[in-house]
């Protein structure tokens, strides 16, 4: 029974990582690719780690706390990385995809520039 659960978790993890890789190729711009790279990969990595944790706990009888810590650190670092990459990409001037609907951040930055010009 536990073997089935472990297999399902690891298969889901591998599948999600594969889909993340496909997403990186298929999405049109940097920001879309970031979605694929940081997100589906996150859940994929977590389900693989959960599978390994259950394997060690129920079959080998070892409580591997480090694996649970890994989940915590993946949760902590993935959003920071995504945030910094997207922010710096936007500040360097990487354009959004042509079919993008709206860009509130661009308008916000324009407004800030206008205010600074008025001051100086």
């Amino acid at each position: 029974m536990t073997e089935i659960v472990i297999s399902i978790l690891i298969l889901i993890g591998g599948g999600l990582s594969l889909l993340g890789a496909i997403g990186i190729i298929r999405f049109p711009d940097v920001y879309g690719r970031l979605h694929a790279a940081t997100k589906s990969a996150t859940l994929g990595v977590i389900s693989i780690i959960l599978g390994v944790f259950i394997f060690f706990y129920f079959i080998e009888g070892i409580f591997a706390g480090k694996l649970l810590l890994t989940i915590l650190f993946v949760f902590l670092t993935a959003p920071v990385a995504g945030f910094m990459i997207s922010k710096s990409a936007y500040n360097v001037g990487v354009k959004l995809w042509d079919k993008s609907l709206q860009d509130d951040l661009g308008e916000h930055i324009k407004q800030l520039d206008r205010k600074e010009k008025q001051k100086s």
Partner: protein, 158 residues
């Protein structure tokens, strides 16, 4: 709140000494007993029982996992659809949260659910700029973030 947790740990230590058996399991049992004692005596204490916040925190985690799985399915659908029929965009999401901790938590949760990625903050920290992979309705997208994560975070901290 800090005093209550201290009290709870104190009860746990009392339990260990009474049991005369120093293990982690006994500490956890003692902590649980202290938790129940505080819950029973919550009417007599002149401060608010902190279990409500613990409960709200667990509710937040369950909501987060639910949203994580739901949003993953959405992104998988987009990745596997033969025609990339998506309309991405950056939306300014206003938030009512005050402290930096709450806003950081909200931005992290937005980033971790697939389909949304927080990109930048406004100067006063009251607006988060979120990149959506597929916008169906702008107002509905903002309302969804308000109703789910923001409300749950407010329940924990307020």
């Amino acid at each position: 709140m800090a005093f209550q947790i201290l009290l709870n740990i104190g009860i746990a230590f009392l339990w260990i000494l009474l049991r005369n058996d120093f293990t982690v399991i006994d500490f956890l049992v003692g902590y649980f007993i202290g938790f129940i004692m505080l819950f029973v005596l919550r009417g007599l204490l002149n401060f608010e029982f902190y279990g409500r916040r613990v409960y709200a925190f667990f509710k937040l985690i369950v909501l987060f996992i639910y949203k994580l799985i739901l949003a993953n399915i959405d992104v998988i659908k987009i990745v596997l659809s033969p025609k990339m029929d998506i309309r991405p965009g950056i939306i300014a999401v206003p938030t009512d949260l005050d402290t930096e901790w709450e806003i950081t938590l909200l931005a992290t949760m937005i980033s971790l659910t697939p389909g949304t990625l927080s990109m930048n903050f406004s100067e006063n920290g009251k607006t988060i700029y979120v990149h959506f992979i597929h916008i169906e309705d702008k107002d509905e997208a903002i309302k969804e973030i308000h109703d789910s994560f923001e409300k749950a975070i407010l329940e924990v901290t307020k």
